[in-house]
Symmetry: C2
Subunit: 335 residues, 2 copies
């Protein structure tokens, strides 16, 4: 049986209320405060969050929903969230939804009651479902934006634009883009970037069929890309890009001499050979930032402030990291 506040109070010779005040920073004389704290320490007292939550109305916990923990992108996000939440002394429930829209919604429903707020990486759920969720719980969207909902995203469109312009500057004129699963917010941002970068001509971007955003997806896409004859390829993420690299090497295609490859996210970019030029996204910082925003929203909701306390749609910058997988097209054929 764990130590309760009663135990501490009895041992310290005060009432439970006083013990509570001493521990949580209420109005108590310094001497009793120290005495109670000493006893609590000695007894290894840990407050029962459930009981506290029952009365304060706050659960003292956060919830995080991600599509796939084994995707290094989301692992990084989770790490950023966990670090910041720990700093705020809030435990976090983590749910992995296996990239299924149904599970995303289900996870939110089951987490809502036990948490003060939810952090959602929900690439699959519909906007409507998200709006509905946000209506019932304090929510911050991560790496997705829905009008009117608090969110923290990275400027993916600009990252893609930077990537295309890098390739164009190198002299590439035809680029294959390998998309991830269709109709995701992140995919739409990439499209925006593509459109922006190709608007004034000089470079053509063709889309290959979408593949899973995994290493295997990249392997699968490689043959399609090579069949096209383009001199450069832009992958949905680093996992796909490394898959591309692997299959290209197996087929005797040299990177970057025969083909330039650009990844996205800067997760496993240095693991393949050659090291990938990629769009760096501050996942971990996004996770931490999202926790900060969520905490502010939770506080505002408690104070029943009608208006959100600050800007609630945050965009973090992205930047291209140039490594060894991109070069001028057909470099080797030059004198």
């Amino acid at each position: 049986m764990p130590t309760t506040l009663q135990d501490v109070a009895r041992e310290a010779g005060v009432s439970a209320a006083t013990a509570s005040r001493a521990l949580t920073g209420g109005t108590v004389s310094p001497s009793t405060r120290d005495a109670v704290r000493a006893v609590a320490e000695r007894l290894g007292y840990r407050p029962n969050r459930a009981a506290r939550g029952l009365i304060t109305g706050r659960a003292g916990a956060l919830g995080l929903v991600v599509p796939d923990l084994t995707n290094p992108f989301f692992a990084d996000v989770a790490k950023g969230v966990a670090a910041r939440a720990r700093a705020a002394d809030l435990p976090v429930f983590v749910t992995d939804t296996d990239e299924e829209a149904g599970l995303e919604v289900e996870a939110v429903a089951s987490l809502r009651r036990g948490t003060d707020g939810l952090l959602l990486c929900s690439p699959r759920a519909s906007d409507a479902a998200l709006l509905d969720v946000a209506d019932r719980a304090t929510t911050v969207l991560l790496h997705r934006r829905v009008d009117g909902l608090p969110s923290v995203v990275a400027d993916l469109a600009d990252g893609t634009r930077q990537a295309v312009e890098h390739l164009r500057a190198l002299g590439h004129r035809r680029i294959v883009y390998v998309p991830g699963r269709p109709s995701s917010w992140a995919g739409a941002q990439r499209d925006l970037g593509l459109a922006a970068a190709t608007a004034d001509g000089g470079v053509e971007v063709v889309r290959c069929p979408a593949v899973a955003p995994t290493f295997a997806g990249g392997v699968q896409a490689a043959d399609l890309v090579l069949a096209d004859g383009a001199t450069a390829v832009l992958a949905y993420n680093d996992l796909v890009a490394v898959g591309l690299l692997t299959r290209a090497a197996a087929r005797g295609v040299r990177v970057p001499d025969d083909l330039s490859v650009v990844g996205h996210d800067d997760t496993v970019a240095t693991m393949g050979h050659p090291a990938l030029t990629t769009v760096a996204v501050p996942q971990r910082r996004a996770g931490a930032t999202a926790v900060d925003l969520l905490l502010r929203l939770v506080a505002a909701a408690r104070a029943s402030a009608a208006e959100p306390p600050c800007d609630t749609e945050l965009t973090l910058p992205t930047h291209l990291v140039v490594r060894a997988s991109t070069a001028e097209p057909a470099r080797r054929r030059r004198p």
Copy 2:
């Protein structure tokens, strides 16, 4: 304000007690049971876990402590845990301890109260600290064994033995082993495997200084390994092995021709070039198995059975996966 049991009871025209029984499977007439359930469904009722926990004494949640979520090994473990816990309708608190022993202990202390049981991947904490923890909370150790505590591990010693014998069979006589951080359980298991495989001679294993179990650690270790002149290297894990591969390639050392490389864990083994021969460890299954065991222990603890309900020290098999990073030594020099 979320729907409470009171709301459901009132709407269904029964008492809260009856509503509770109807929902949790107590003794009620089929008709009222269905009626109450229909109302609950219609109102979107979700029980308040905190309130329930207060009275039942069970929190209705599990806790998981891992050293690093961005290490694919632990990401896989977490995924296995999350999947099984979801099947049991139990949310799980996930804590990332940044590979710090102090945080591991701290995390356990703060999670203990809010959970029914803890899953611990704690490579850094001392045995004594773990024993102390297990004294106060239902606990299952993951990928670590401490005498007398429930645990789920993989047979790492046997995996290492298989790796060494593979290299010996290929003709290697001198192998460098790159350890991870010293004095971990996993490290000790590797040593056992090394000892077993070298007992009857024919092959010599030399240790290089320990490095961080990361890609960067592998890059760092590479030069030490190459200076040794051994024909094969056994890395602490795949991350280290891929780092080794990358640095070896940069220095013009060809794998497997000049150097054979064996990884461990089968996490990022196919991402580098060439694909790694590695020891496959069933991380995900271990996570799921650990949840099963923990649930059984929790149930037993509640029934105040003095004896554990089953075997509580589980070992999962490992096996070597041979890919392209190992070959006979100095193959190229042969006719």
